[in-house]
């Protein structure tokens, strides 16, 4: 099972299928691909660098508010989209000291960071619109393209995801990925000259940028933001669960995890169990954590023992 081949297949399907789907399915795909981009971002830090974060809502929310505020201030929405990722990146620079923590302490400090930002979004009324929220955010625009319909948005988020996956692929199979993979034994890594903190910081910056990009896209897609939504715990938990499910530390795992979890819930479990479908998802996650420690793709990869090239 070659990861690159699987990725190409996945993207080809996502490129070809949408015109044949109805608006509802396209909407589901837009939402799941946004979550997938967030998961790809989360995995850069939580997967490759092994720093499991419970607070990526911080970067998602920063990206969302960054793009929302800038677009509303009259900046070109496309520029606002990428600057949203930039705002999340700046947020990760502030979060750098948290990288000194390990394990549960790191995870919890990230959770607290997201909560602090949520509170700030409520308090900084002049900038964010406070608890009332940010309305009528000007969305993405291209002459002759209807962004009111789902299709255009779907291809935008697909393009963003492709960029994220390209970066994740380069990280995993490049020198940075090799160094990050060694962080499982930090003392030994340092003995070999691995600049542990610098590599973690690089992973955090990239992770924050792509998570913020997902948030920025979401803000320009739904064109409305409020603090409990933008910094919702869901943005922290979803990418984490999806990555564990699909294969943390692989490139394709978080995407498979997200699509499986989201589309599986919307199109499968929810049809049967309208309420309480979370119970089924929860049970699935427990089973995966118990029996497939490396996630679905991680399991397949280990099983077929792919030896990875290192550029």
């Amino acid at each position: 099972m070659k990861e690159r081949g699987l990725l190409w297949l996945l993207f080809a399907l996502l490129l070809i299928l949408p015109p044949f789907l109805d608006e509802y399915l396209r909407h589901l795909l837009v939402s799941s691909l946004t979550l997938a981009l967030l998961a790809v971002g989360w995995n850069l830090l939580g997967g490759f660098a092994g720093q499991v974060s419970f607070g990526h809502a911080a970067f998602f929310g920063l990206g969302a508010y960054g793009a929302g505020i800038l677009s509303k201030a009259g900046l070109d929405p496309w520029l606002a989209l990428f600057l949203g990722g930039g705002v999340a990146f700046l947020g990760s620079v502030v979060a750098l000291p948290i990288l000194r923590l390990h394990g549960a302490y790191f995870a919890l400090a990230m959770l607290a960071y997201a909560e602090v930002l949520r509170t700030l979004a409520i308090l900084l009324e002049g900038l964010t619109g406070g608890a009332a929220g940010l309305f009528s955010i000007p969305g993405l625009y291209l002459p002759g393209v209807d962004f009111g319909a789902k299709l255009a948005n779907l291809y935008v988020i697909l393009g963003l995801l492709l960029v994220g996956v390209g970066v994740a692929f380069r990280v995993r199979y490049g020198p940075l990925g090799l160094g990050l993979a060694a962080l499982g034994e930090e003392e030994a890594a340092r003995a070999g000259g691995v600049p542990v903190f610098r590599l973690k910081a690089q992973a955090l910056f990239l992770s924050a940028f792509f998570s913020g990009l997902a948030g920025a896209f979401q803000a320009l897609y739904i064109r409305f933001l409020e603090p409990p939504y933008a910094f919702s715990l869901e943005w922290s938990v979803y990418p984490l669960v999806a990555s564990f499910l699909g294969g943390r530390g692989t490139v394709v795992g978080p995407i498979l995890g997200t699509l499986g979890l989201y589309l599986g819930a919307e199109l499968g479990v929810k049809q049967v169990l309208e309420r309480g479908y979370h119970i089924a998802t929860g049970a699935l996650v427990v089973l995966v954590v118990l029996f497939l420690r490396r996630g679905v793709f991680g399991f397949l990869e280990g099983r077929y023992a792919v030896v990875r090239p290192r550029g």
């Binding site: 020198p175 090799l178 160094g179 993979a181 060694a182 499982g184 034994e185 003392e187 030994a188 890594a189 340092r190 003995a191 070999g192 000259g193 691995v194 600049p195 542990v196 530390g249 280990g302 023992a305 030896v307 990875r308 290192r310």
Partner: protein
Amino acid sequence: MPLSARGVSVRFGGLLALHEVSLTVEVGQKVGLIGPNGAGKTTMFGVLSGHLKPFRGEVFLEGRRITQLPPEARARLGVVRTFQVPRPFPGLTVFENVLVFARFSGRSQDPEASAWRALEGVGLEKWAEAWVEGLNVAQLKRLEVARALAAEPRYLLLDEVFAGLNPVEKAALAERIEALTRDWGLGLLLVEHDLKTVFRLAQWVYVLSFGSLIAEGPPEVVARDPKVIEVYTGGVV
């Protein structure tokens, strides 16, 4: 131009783990560091590799004071250690494990070639593509040595790489280490429990007991030193 520790003292809470210990390793020299359990050998190792900071004393590398340098910076200067309990990087192949050291020490012109050379040096080249989780203890010990070699060190610090090996494995590894130090022109510091191996390999031996240096000299002299005999036999012999 040696790697040396001068008057190093280390304290863990109320315990004085090292008390004003000095030692020197020259390039091309094989030095042994012995002592009973808890004598401070591994602590001394940590001080030299940068994993521990002494509260008194200094570490010098070729005239430069490196006492405050972190381990990763020392590795880049050519001081590389192994760990007593092997610490392979999980989820990576044997080759990738070695490549981490070759690449990040920044000392190799061609990290992949260095990694291969190191694997061949310890006879693990056949296992290059294997996941590290599949290795046995003897192989993990050799992997520790290979990783350190891949960093192209000038000073190689080996922490009990012979422990847990059977006599045949021990002899084979000793032979390889001897050849490597000769061919690669390394300074070697060997912390070891097994006196026979140390006396066979080392040209100069330091003996620690309760954190203090009690003897040093060529192995044949140290082996006859009454103080050394006493700490190892408890004065019974």
